[in-house]
Amino acid sequence: MKSSWKNIAEPVVFFITLLILWEILVEVIQVPSFILPPPGDLWVAFIKKLPILGHHSVITFIEAFGGFALSLFLGVGFAIAVVYSRHLQNTIYPLIVILYAMPKSAFAPLMVIWIGYGLYSKIAIAFLVAFFPIVVNTVVGLKEVEPELLELARINRASEFDVFKKIRLPNSLPYLFAGIKVAIVLSVTGAIVAEFVAANEGLGYLVLQANYNLDTAFALVILLILAVLSLGLFWLAELVQRKLAPWSAAVREVEGSF
């Protein structure tokens, strides 16, 4: 009990100290507030902009979560198809690898041309960014089955569908969740980058606006909100994992890039 109390107290004390140091440092060195505003200014900016923050946060959330949900749905489906079809493995998979090697954020301007200015082009980028960690992890999870289990299935004349349902799919869950946790955070990044390119709403758009106005305090506030959003989504993924696959405490994820 004592140690768990310490685990909460330690970071809290650390962050409060950090904020105080920040406030003092900015005061002493006389840093102009457009370069680094004191933490107090961030609070003021947050309160002042609160009425508009809600709407833009929701927009970015929809873009990120929409892209993520799409990547989960298509990524798992695609991974299953690749694992079971040699043709797909020989044809589409190399294409996916080439796409994987491209910086997905560079697609953002193209997406505006292809899909348009609105929500969908942002969802598309969030999807692109989140798709690969899901596919790569799910493929690994479906394939990395102990060979003895497959022998056991063969000697008992299990159907291919039974092997999928009772061995491969549950086996892939820890890997899938590792991929989900990477993907869900990346999808927020994807949405923001897409907003940078062309948008008139969303948190990425607000960051650009704050930059134009040299409102550094507000830009930092938005960054913090984005951190909260990403962490919230990450914890949500963890929560679902504990419910759905409690045996998969920790599997190292295969990193995805953006």
Binding site: L152, R154, I155
Partner: protein, 274 residues
């Protein structure tokens, strides 16, 4: 009586790129119903490969295996398998794991639950039915995997170094339990091990194999009374069997097992041909 399993001049060659490895060379032997047969030999001598060929999981490069007079060309029906690792499904309870072969074979699951529970009792896992593999010790996991192999009541039990990863005490304990189960349920057991003592202790017949390429050096009938007890390990006759197997392996060039004194053994056991 015709043998249950007849292994006729089996060879197995693995080809990997430019390299070919001969795992098994001209193996022939008969295994009779109800016998406890061990295959003993150094690591990499093809013991597991032989087991897989007999089970029909792996084809032989040449030669034939017949079981019940039927040529084996696909996985055998109703065989129990136990591997070195328990390989239990992490997401299933002990009971759920034991019932897996029943589900795979599309048998009626509810009618097997009582059988599964009886097996759980037989191996001393009572009260652990609803626990998950990570909550069990290595020995308990291997007990569960033994139940899984027995749940469909197979005639033939194939065991690939099943207790090799366990500590010596747990291993002795499980050896005793395996014998008890074997005597109670009258199975034919094919047991791969690299422990000479374990092989002699458990078996009616010990098949001694040489290092790669795996050849059958000799088939030794172990004439020790049943039921076997741990004390038998210290009687002279037991020692004679283990020493004979050691000498066979030493004569075949598996020096690591014998240590330094090859000459002494070669004198006391003149080289025999299989």
């Amino acid at each position: 009586m015709p043998p249950l399993i007849a292994v006729g001049d089996i060879s197995r060659v693995f080809t990997g790129g430019a390299r070919t490895v001969t795992a098994l060379e001209h193996i022939s032997c008969d295994i009779h119903t109800g016998n406890f047969v061990s295959i003993v030999g150094p690591s990499g001598c093809g013991k597991s490969t032989l087991l897989k060929i007999i089970s029909g999981l792996l084809p032989a490069s040449s030669g034939t295996v017949t079981v019940h007079g039927k040529h084996v060309d696909s996985p055998l029906e109703n065989v129990g398998m136990v591997f070195q690792a328990p390989v239990l499904l992490k997401w299933r309870s002990v009971l759920g794991n034991i019932l897996l072969p029943v589900e795979f074979a599309r048998l009626d699951v509810p009618s097997y639950i009582d059988k599964a529970r009886a097996l759980i009792k037989l191996v001393g896992l009572e009260g652990f039915e609803e626990m998950y593999p990570h909550e069990l010790s290595g020995g308990m996991q291997q007990r569960a995997s033994l139940c899984r192999a027995l749940v469909t009541d197979p005639q033939l039990l194939l065991m690939d170094e099943p207790f090799g990863a366990l500590d010596a005490m747990t291993r002795d304990e499980l050896d005793m339990e395996l014998l008890r189960i074997w005597e109670e349920r009258k199975k034919t057991v094919l047991f791969v091990t690299h422990s000479i003592q374990e092989a002699v202790f458990l078996s009616d017949i010990v098949l001694v194999m040489s290092a790669r390429p795996g050849r059958l050096l000799e088939k030794i009938a172990v004439d020790l009374p049943r039921p076997r007890t741990m004390e038998m390990m210290s009687i002279a006759k037991f020692g004679e069997y283990t020493l004979k197997i050691r000498a066979l392996l030493a004569a075949a060039g598996v020096c690591a097992i014998i240590g330094g004194n090859r000459n002494l053994l070669a004198e006391s056991f003149p080289k025999t041909n299989p």
